[in-house]
Amino acid sequence: MKKTGAGKTVSSGSTERAGLRRRDFFKLLGAGIFIIFETWDSFELMALPAEQRRALPADFNAFLWIAEDGSVSCYTGKIEMGQGIITSLAQMMADELDVEMEKVKMVMGDTDLCPWDMGTFGSMTTRFFAPPMRAAAAEARTILLQLGAERLGVPQSQLEVKNGIITDKMNDKNKVSYAELTKGKKIEKHLDIKPNVKDYTQFKIVGKPNLHQDARLKVTGQAKYSGDMLFPDTLFARVLRPPSHGAKLVSADVSEAEKMEGIKVVREGDFIAVLHKNRDKADEAIVKVNAEYSFDEMKVDDKTIFEHLLKTASSVNLIASKGDLATGRQLSETVIDSEFYNSYVAHAPIEPHTAAARMEDGKITVWASTQRPFPVQETISRELGIPLEKVRVNTPFVGGGFGGKSASLQASEAARLAKITGKPVMVAWTREEEFFYDTFRPAAVVKITSGMNKSGKINLWDYHVYYAGDRGSDTIYDVPNAYTTSHGSGSTGPKAHPFGTGAWRAPGNNTNTFARESQINILASKAGIDPLEFRLKNLKDERMIGVLKAVAELFGYTPAKNPSGRGYGIACGTDTGTYVAHIAEVKVDKKTGHVQVVRVACAQDMGLCINPEGSIIQMEGCITMGLGYCLTEEIQFQGGKIDNLSFDAYELPRFSWLPKISTLILDKKDQPPQGGGEPAIICMGGLIANAIFDATGARLFQLPMTPARILEAIKKIG
């Protein structure tokens, strides 16, 4: 990947950033060394939606600042929502600069302080933000060494740096700290020489386990989330919501609510809100608003949705093609057609969408739980007609996102109400609102026709995915005649979904990997070959083979034809450049359809692993969270009316579900780092479906695999 844009230095005062003039910006930060760098334009390659693909503005994308006290601030538009980049980015920064980890201060997701960023999603932080950040750190170190050489009066080659202190190798009394060097100085430096980024052998902090930097704040209740940004005069707002998506407000009577003491009612067209200094009172007032609606909803429900999607899909996108399907069919002794389904799935972070907003001297500041502070800033500016530089979006800790905190309607609502009332306003969605306005993982269908010869070599693979998207849809197996087609993922054609859908942890890949890995086991079982052996037989990709062998060893796997009665499942796949494979053991109660996952082993090849501890946590998190979409999680709905709007009706994984989890990260230090927050969740559907088949002989084609569906599948095989 080519690096462009780096090497430019923006001189003081000459460039305006959104929000702050460059000049002010320097003022804000005080003295110190400034390194400015721009992002790679590799985003262009990533087939992002048009809105996110916007050309990166001329303002710089990320930077660091070494203060007079030697502390290093690292400014990033990325946000921390539990994925641990507050630690891993700091590790990289510390290693490149040769400072202690504790000296690095992450400043994240503040549109006034941080450079523009499109958002935190798609496991892009480590892959795309980190390289230019590291380049900047390396550059800063070089400048500091030059300054150090001058100060100490010895050639640069005679110096070494440790913990932010430059020392003369010949005379260890002759030394100077970064802090002493930067004091009172502001230095700007072009990055036109190729930055001397360290390679993995030189890392002292990267690659070592490191506990979350934010842990102490979080265990003491000091960590601030958006809902914690309360001021003495904050008003809590509740906004009137329609009973279903597609319902239109006909009339609303707010007189009863208005009678309540201290209640303020805001009404602008269809937007009605009640505000009070006590949240309870706002809750009380909103139900007193008497509203009538007209309904024009889609006639579809959670039973008919799949048929509807297949009918609706008009756009067709050929993702990959190889060989010829007719030839593949001729070369196949056995041809198997399958159809797989998955329901709508909610993000359900424990922190609902929340935003606080305050207007002061014509400038509005918004604290929002969002994965995309900069797009939120732009939206608010546009909607409220406030210039961009007068809108500051701040992102404190985010209580879970998983792709669901992208649109961030709550931030616009809070900003709008703060502007209207002139008071600080808190909009913290109820759990019901959180479910209702979630952008669900789309319901989807996958159709596969696949064929193999007598010895179990796959020769035919015709893969069609409807509405999940194409991430993870590639045939990872070595099939000479393979076509992959994605249907209906575009925004053209008739409306597919009765409500919002969007990216959900490893978007598309959960659906695609479930379908592909289930189909592979169906073939293996038909061929009478152990499913691990069957995979190895049909794979050429060494990294995939590597993780499969590693996970088999980790699990203590012994081969057997399926169904073996042991309840073993296997699945593998790739996501965001990372290879992953799982083996699980389940117990199925054939009378109730209840599944207990006994253990899950997972091996991952993610190239250089920045923070092994953090990556293992992500793997465990993926496995635990993934059990939900396997076993219980699905949105029930009729048209635009959603039936399960609480944690009672929409069941998340709980402590009693916990399998024994073992994880392994392959040592691939010499490979570039890849995504770590999402890969280990993609296999869960196929893994558990295959394990249930191995336990019972019953094949499940729909996620989630609820007890009712399991019993039905068992009944089918008699």
């Binding site: 929502m81 539990g82 994925q83 641990g84 506990l211 979350h212 934010d214 842990a215 102490r216 704040l217 979080k218 265990v219 003491t220 209740g221 000091q222 960590a223 601030k224 989330y225 809902g227 914690d228 309360l230 904050t234 200094k277 006590n278 949240r279 309870d280 359900a348 972070p349 424990i350 922190e351 609902p352 800790f397 985010v398 209580g399 879970g400 996102g401 998983f402 913290a428 109820t430 759990r431 501890e613 946590i617 465990e620 998190g621 993926c622 496995i623 635990t624 969270m625 609480s646 944690f647 009672d648 998340l652 994984p653 709980r654 402590f655 009693s656 916990l658 989890i661």
Partner: protein, 160 residues
Amino acid sequence: MEETIRFELNGKKTEILLDPKLTLIWVLRTQFGLTGTKFGCGEGICGACTVLIDKVPVRSCTIPVREVAGKKVTTIEGLSINGNLHPVQKAFIEHDALQCGYCTPGMIITAVGLLLKNPAPSEQEILHGMEDNLCRCGAHVRIIKAIQSAAKEMKGGKLS
């Protein structure tokens, strides 16, 4: 109608004049600025808002503030004493038993309540005791480990 409610909050005698029907979670967060107690569902289901009332974990989103009159309330902010973390807090850090951290205060308070009642719980008892606290990030495995190691640590009379 406003009333004066007297109770002990994080070891300090407190009184406040307010509508006694207000929900405890919002009184703690708004009137007292104790924002470590988190709002996750408001329906008593997720456990993010759990506080100790007379050493028993209670979901603060389900009870009006008048119910704590004359009682001792402990929130996450009141667990550490003079900056010394409670063994459960320490164990959560050591085991990295959190990701986004939003469920964490409720998890810790629930765990402390569990250990107060049963200082040496089996794994099954921990699972059972934590069952109704939800974590979307999937930190469960480590939360269990953290509670186990805190239990060991606390058995030397270090129980607060």
